[in-house]
Amino acid sequence: MSDAHISVRNLRASHGPKEVLHGLSLSIPRGGIYGIIGPAGSAKTTFLTCLNRTLQLVPRASSVGEVSLNGIPVSNFEINDLRRRVAMVLPLPVGLPMSIYDNVAFAPRMVGMHNKGELDALVERCLTQAALWDEVKDRLDQLGTKLSGGQQQRLTLARALSTEPEVLCLDEFSIAIDPVTTMRIESVLVELKSEMTIVLVTNLLAQARRIADRTAFFLNGNLVEEGPTEELFVAPTDPRTHDYIHGKFG
């Protein structure tokens, strides 16, 4: 238990009267990429939103159970501090309607970083980590919304990194972008995993298999099984996992 970065015990979450997560328990080790796979409607996204408590922004949604970060329940964190520690990249790229520079400097400025030199360095570092620096370094004052979809998704990633998070959650980040950009972001994630814990929700089995160190299989709001990625893919213990991996449903 001591090496678990995030531990989840008996987590139930509901949208209105409908329970979508049925008492799920799971622990995510520190560092590395933790993949979560499963068909649509298996509450993968809801699970992610419980990690940084963005679930409470959804009207009529609620959750019970324990989610802790470094052994401390997430409900004990100051909410905005928690969201800086647990960053989230959403499925569709979101360039905020401001310059590329301001997109990345947005979060640091909110915590009072206004020193030009410090901000410049941070913006460059985050954009470099997100593999976008070379493409935008000459036009940082251009609107973030004018970038292509793939570039915007890397901008979203750079922005997520700007809070220097300890956990980076990605929710089907490749859904709206091209395969080349997807591969670039994947290699970025592989580089980042030594610095932070990455939780990767994906619909692409091949993606989980390529880069996840451990993988969990969700089905209808339950955890079916989890384990080292290769084991899960080669020798799943549960027949439902076997069926899903071999395309029998979902």
């Binding site: 940084n52 963005t54 922004l57 009207p59 905005n80 501090d81 928690l82 969201r83 800086r84 960053a87 989230m88 959403l90 569709l92 979101v94 905020l96 309607p97 401001m98 947005f106 979060a107 909110m110 915590v111 919304t145 979203t156 922005r159 997520a160 700007s162 809070t163």
Partner: protein, 297 residues
């Protein structure tokens, strides 16, 4: 086996055509009306404007019944923009603040109720607002030290209350049109609700908000009855918020009944109408351009 396909009866085909024609006419009627109105006001006013335009824009005294008559409209223009400007100082912060509250902070039930109430505010006839200016704002301003309670500030307060519903409902629409993904992205980076509103939503919705303000301006410039009753109707260039003023609209409303039909005074009032029309036309045009810019980005 032969297949018989039923076709529509001829009568229904013609009816369809007829309805199409009527619908087209309805669509174009707005253009027709605006041209007709401009033509009507213009016919009476353009001739006067073309001969008196220099005097109108260089003199401040408006004495259309004197001999020789003065037709300077600078004081009237000043009165109009003074009232509208002051009213914006009141209505923009309150209106946009209320739009932000409705769109981002209010619980769903509160929002529904407040929206109905705000729309009720829009349904109050302008003469009733004038009455409020005379009976309620007037003594309040006197209690605050104004010598005359019917003055520019009174008119501005009444105008602000009248344009508020427009600002609130258009402002709220503009804010709610901002994609939720912006809200999620800002919140996911640890922005508080207000930081999200101020740094992300307001910039994203700025064009829509500007349109709301501009349409409010258009509404305020054209408002007549309430300002006629509330502003004190004294032709002068105001130097204090407590100075009584007179607006373009109030001048037309107050004097048209007394002016001899076809006479110089009568034509001068139509000239004012043309100027008013041009002002509101441009305000609306700018609003429309702003909105178009919004669609293209």
């Amino acid at each position: 086996m032969s297949i018989h396909r039923r076709t529509r009866p001829a009568a229904s085909v013609y009816a369809e055509k007829a309805i199409e024609v009527v619908i087209h006419l309805c669509g174009y009627s707005a253009i027709l009306f605006i041209i007709a109105i401009f033509g009507f006001i213009g016919r009476e006013g353009i001739g006067f404007l073309s001969t008196h335009i220099v005097g109108m824009f260089t003199q401040t005294s408006w004495n259309p019944t004197h001999d020789p008559a003065d037709f300077g409209i600078l004081a009237l223009l000043a009165g109009t923009f003074w009232c509208v400007g002051l009213s914006l100082l009141i209505s923009v912060p309150i209106g946009l603040g209320s739009a932000v509250y409705l769109s981002e902070f209010a619980p769903e039930r509160t929002r529904e109720i407040l929206k109905i109430v705000v729309e009720l505010l829009a349904a109050i006839p302008s003469v009733v607002w004038g009455f409020i200016g005379v009976m309620i704002v007037n003594p309040m301003l006197q209690a605050l030290g104004a010598q005359v309670g019917l003055n520019g500030l009174n008119g501005a307060i009444v105008l602000a209350l009248m344009t508020l519903p427009l600002l609130v409902s258009l402002g709220e629409d503009a804010l709610r049109a901002v994609p939720d993904s912006y809200r999620q992205a800002a919140t996911a980076m640890g922005a508080t609700r207000w930081e999200m509103v101020w740094r992300v939503l307001m910039p994203a919705a700025r064009r829509g908000l500007l349109v709301a303000v501009l349409l409010g301006v258009g509404r305020a410039v054209g408002e007549t009855m309430a300002v006629l009753m509330a502003t004190g109707n004294s032709v002068r260039i105001p130097t204090s918020v407590y100075d009584p003023v007179r607006t373009l609209t109030a001048t037309i409303a107050a004097e048209l009944g007394e002016a001899v039909r076809g006479g110089e005074h009568y034509q001068a009032l139509f000239g004012l109408g043309v100027i008013l029309f041009i002002i509101t036309f441009f305000v609306n045009l700018i609003a429309e351009w702003t909105l178009r810019g919004n669609r293209s980005t």
